[in-house]
């Protein structure tokens, strides 16, 4: 589905990562693989350190912490927020919607529109499109898009396929109308026939959690996990990204009246370094234009990785100047999408730590 908007802008970004850092050097001791093989893999994939929440911390806790920091710093006022779009795969509860929980905690206006979106890797793109659609309404001037996930709580530490790359984070992106921002082109596509390539089998109504769903077993590659844990068909996801994402992006940049060379920066979802390098090669884009270092610093935090890449690599530049950027997310769903827009002169763009509480 293609979208076109005019004069929509991102005006601020806040990234919240847990203070707790896990090192790959420690993780690999839990895997059923020799250390030298794990070390080689770490170099290729970019595994080094990842940020994960302490027990009991929810994604909305990170988001609330970020909002309170913005309020305290005078960057945002609760009464200014006309809509809250909360994108997550790790809601606090099945009900109520987590956006409503945050609405209450933050003291937002009763006519502030709140919605939860169940999306992950493409959640920044989907959330931003929702925000821009809301901004078409005259009464909506400022939308806060939250991408927040604590997927580490659902990944087995003995799963070499997923654990070292997973990170937790919440990001707050402020979207507003801004005259002169130009056109925003977006495209989101879905392939539900492959929806089970990335899943947490148990925990929903189809297969509720039980003592049986907590029982761990080893797969053919020696990864131990239970149905309560995230499981990813890494080869299927990789092949999907390589085959389906480049043609979608080629369409998108053409619709935006440019080509891959006409984009200043590519802020993509951060599954791992290897996949991003292969994607850059496929698009014939220099590695320097497509940051791939979020996994090695924070881990893959699902929908929060694109703002994390922006704040980690270009916080100052994004507050100083405007660039032609291409966002792209791809993964769970399977969902893949992109946005081409002008982005910059942000009022704020920073990363903060959510402090450890327990000892």
């Amino acid at each position: 589905m293609k979208f076109c908007f005019k004069d929509k802008a991102i005006t601020g970004m806040m990234v919240v990562v847990p203070e707790q850092e896990r090192l790959f050097a420690d993780d690999m001791r839990l895997f059923n693989a020799p250390e030298n093989r794990s070390r080689k893999l770490a170099m290729v994939m970019g595994y080094r350190a990842h940020r994960v929440v302490e027990d009991g911390v929810c994604a909305s806790d990170l988001a609330e912490y970020g909002f309170r920091k913005l309020f305290a710093d005078g960057k945002l006022k609760p009464e200014e927020i006309d809509a809250l779009v909360y994108v997550t795969l790790s809601p606090d509860h099945f009900m109520p919607p987590t956006s409503c929980i945050l609405h209450g905690k933050l003291g937002l206006r009763k006519d502030c529109f709140c919605t939860d979106i169940s999306q992950g890797c493409c959640g920044f793109v989907v959330g931003l499109i929702q925000a821009f659609q809301l901004l078409e309404q005259k009464c909506i001037r400022k939308v806060a898009v939250v991408n927040a996930d604590v997927i580490s709580r659902k990944v087995s530490p003995k799963d070499r396929n997923s654990y070292p790359l997973i990170g937790d984070a919440a990001t707050i992106t402020i979207a507003e109308n801004r005259a002169g921002s130009g056109y925003v082109l977006a495209d989101v596509r879905f392939d539900g026939t492959r929806s089970m390539a990335l899943k947490i089998p148990a925990g929903g109504f189809r297969q509720p959690c039980s003592s049986e769903t907590a029982i761990m077993s080893a797969d053919a590659e020696g990864n131990e996990r239970a149905p309560d844990n995230l499981v990813m068909d890494g080869t299927a996801v990789f092949n999907f990204v390589m085959a389906d994402v480049p043609p979608m992006l080629a369409d998108l940049v053409r619709d935006a009246g440019t080509d891959f060379g006409g984009i200043d920066k590519y802020y993509f979802h951060q599954p791992n370094k290897f996949m991003l390098q292969k994607l850059a090669e496929k698009l014939d884009v220099p590695y320097e234009k497509m940051p791939n270092n979020v996994v090695e610093n924070y881990g893959n935090s699902s929908g929060a990785t694109i703002p994390s890449a922006m704040a980690l690599n270009d916080a100052e530049a994004l507050c100083r100047e405007t660039r032609r950027v291409c966002f792209s997310g791809f993964g769970v769903g399977l969902t893949y999408g992109g946005i081409v827009m002008n982005c910059g002169n942000l009022d704020f763009c920073k990363t903060i730590n959510y402090p450890n509480k327990g000892e």
Binding site: L41, V44, T235, F238, F274, K282
Partner: protein, 76 residues
């Protein structure tokens, strides 16, 4: 080229003899993680860019398949 590829495979999984094996994956000699390491090493040693859509087990199942892939991959 074949010797160089065998050398790379041995670096990744020193416990196996790869020469003459028909299907490394079926024999449990390589897994999906090794595949990523192998692609990255081939890219570097042969100064090539293996296309992302070519990273399929059938292109790495034996030495002949890898030789063919390296030969058709564009140079950096």
């Amino acid at each position: 080229m074949k010797e160089k590829i065998l050398e790379i495979l041995k670096e990744i999984r020193p416990e196996f003899e790869f020469d003459g094996v028909e299907d490394f994956f079926a024999e449990g000699m390589l897994d999906s993680f090794d595949l990523m390491t192998l692609v990255s090493t081939l890219d570097e040693r042969f100064a090539i860019k293996i296309d992302g859509t070519e990273i399929l087990p059938e292109n790495f199942m034996n030495v002949d398949a890898i030789v063919a892939l390296v030969e058709r991959s564009p140079k950096r």
